[in-house]
Symmetry: C2
Subunit: 144 residues, 2 copies
């Protein structure tokens, strides 16, 4: 039985991406889970608000590739923890501008440091040149 022209699943990009993503995602999860009782969705919302500043829920939907109900619930959870405050937009009262509170930002800053160490750790063993290529490819794949 010939395997000619048969696609090799070991090279299937969605598979490789998922493996790598799950591995690192699971490993990092314990940091925000243990310290702040946050779910992954909450961490992602905090990550976006901390990194990009004030955003609306819809903004986060597109940036984080998460469903709007998931975001709605994560926002409420963060709000209940006192990590986030919302403010109705004056110009369009349908949408609200989300922002980390001082408390939320302190938590984000702590996690940012942990994230930096974590990132350094998992990048160990990969040449800097490869990392540049890797980041470039991942950004492209996420956009398209």
């Amino acid at each position: 039985m010939s395997k000619i022209r048969t696609f090799d699943m070991h090279k299937f990009l969605p598979y490789l991406l998922n493996q790598a993503s799950e591995k690192s995602g699971l490993a990092f999860e314990r940091h925000y889970k243990a310290r702040y009782g946050m779910l992954r969705a909450e961490w992602r919302v905090m990550f976006h608000l901390g990194s990009f500043g004030s955003l609306s829920a819809t903004d986060i939907t597109f940036r984080a590739l998460m469903h709007k109900t998931k975001i709605s619930r994560a926002v409420r959870a963060l709000e209940l923890k006192g990590f986030l405050k919302r403010a109705r937009q004056k110009l369009d009262r349908r949408s609200e501008s989300l922002q980390l509170t001082a408390l939320g930002f302190r938590a984000f800053e702590k996690l940012r440091i942990v994230a930096g160490e974590f990132d350094k750790e998992i990048c160990k063993g990969l040449p800097e040149a490869d990392l540049m290529v890797l980041r470039k490819c991942l950004s492209k794949l996420a956009k398209n």
Copy 2:
């Protein structure tokens, strides 16, 4: 306020990995969902059995980085669809060897072709040299 030594989250690998993984995973989902009513967990189990041959549920747990209850239920779903059969191991009657049926393998073969096209599509625009680096890095990240 100085940003010196502050980690740039845009380069945070778990974030980039998740973005790229979600994007491609969501896009490919419709193929097995629409044609075979399979969930992502089911597709992953089928993927592993189709690619690597006969495996036990525990094998898949480690290879696919999925929780064992998720696998247990995916296996049952595939079994009900007639895509998979199980056989108790003679030597260790706790574990069972899972294998695609002829029907299951035909479905896998069809999806494999779709996967090949899908993969080609999302790789478009990335130089072959970069893809080699990308795959190498992803494999390493998944192992560690």
